[in-house]
């Protein structure tokens, strides 16, 4: 997985919606995910299109799949996102005193 894969995966609004739904519940079948997207968000993409989006997300490490017998389940994996925060921390670690004495009374 390259860093480019990660940003490319996040660049698409449907793929971000897929992640939003997977955050709600782990271990979703393709059917459940498609139903959530169409019923809750009005995203009526074909099952094939969603399946391709899932492949992109999986290549970026943001989605993991698990096979159990005849079923296949998809879950969110936030691990790759840590690279973003490491690269651009929300606060600069000036003097290593991150978060201390930072304006809270």
């Amino acid at each position: 997985m390259s860093e480019d894969d990660l940003y490319r995966a996040l660049a698409d609004p449907t793929r971000r919606a897929i992640l939003d739904e997977l955050v709600q519940r782990d271990e979703q079948t393709l059917f459940e995910l498609c139903a959530r997207l169409v019923m809750k968000r009005g995203i009526g993409s074909t099952r094939q299109a969603i399946s391709q989006h899932l492949e992109v997300l999986e290549a970026a490490g943001l989605v993991v799949t698990r096979r159990e017998g005849r079923y296949k389940f998809h879950s969110f994996n936030g691990e790759p996102l840590k690279a973003i925060v490491r690269r651009w921390p929300s606060r600069r670690k000036a003097g290593g005193a991150r978060g201390e004495g930072s304006g809270k009374p």
Partner: protein
């Protein structure tokens, strides 16, 4: 023209009859040997609507059936849907009876649905009559 029968393709008619009556709670309406007796004409009905639509427990013997069913199951797709009064209550009842769900009750806009495995190669959706 009226819709009187709907079918599920089952891998074993005896097992299917046990599941659809013993676990789900439907009632046997017809159970008649056919031809050489290898298969039967089996239909079940809901006790809430015994004169209503009949579900045919149809053997999945045609070579196209099993790959078709397997592909649906892999993607979690229920081909058949039943309506229930309370999806959560049915989920608890069926889970206690050992039924495997691939989707617990989820509310999506106006409907709540859940999906379970009928042990005969199919996923079935239950939904509120939204």
């Amino acid at each position: 023209m009226r819709i009187r029968f709907a079918s599920v393709l089952v891998d074993d008619q005896d097992k299917a009859l046990r599941f659809y009556t013993g676990v789900l709670g439907f009632q046997t309406k017809h159970d008649t040997p056919l031809g050489d007796g290898r298969f039967r004409w089996i239909t079940v009905v809901s006790p809430e609507d015994p004169g209503g639509a009949e579900l045919v427990l149809e053997p999945d013997e045609h070579p196209a059936c099993r790959p078709f069913k397997a592909a649906l199951v892999e993607d979690g797709i229920p081909f058949t849907m039943f309506v229930v009064g309370d999806v959560h209550a049915e989920y608890e009842r069926l889970r206690a009876a050992g039924v495997r769900f691939t989707q617990p009750p989820v509310t999506m806009g106006p409907v709540t649905t859940a999906v379970f495995d009928d042990t005969c190669g199919n996923l079935i959706q239950i939904a509120t009559n939204g």
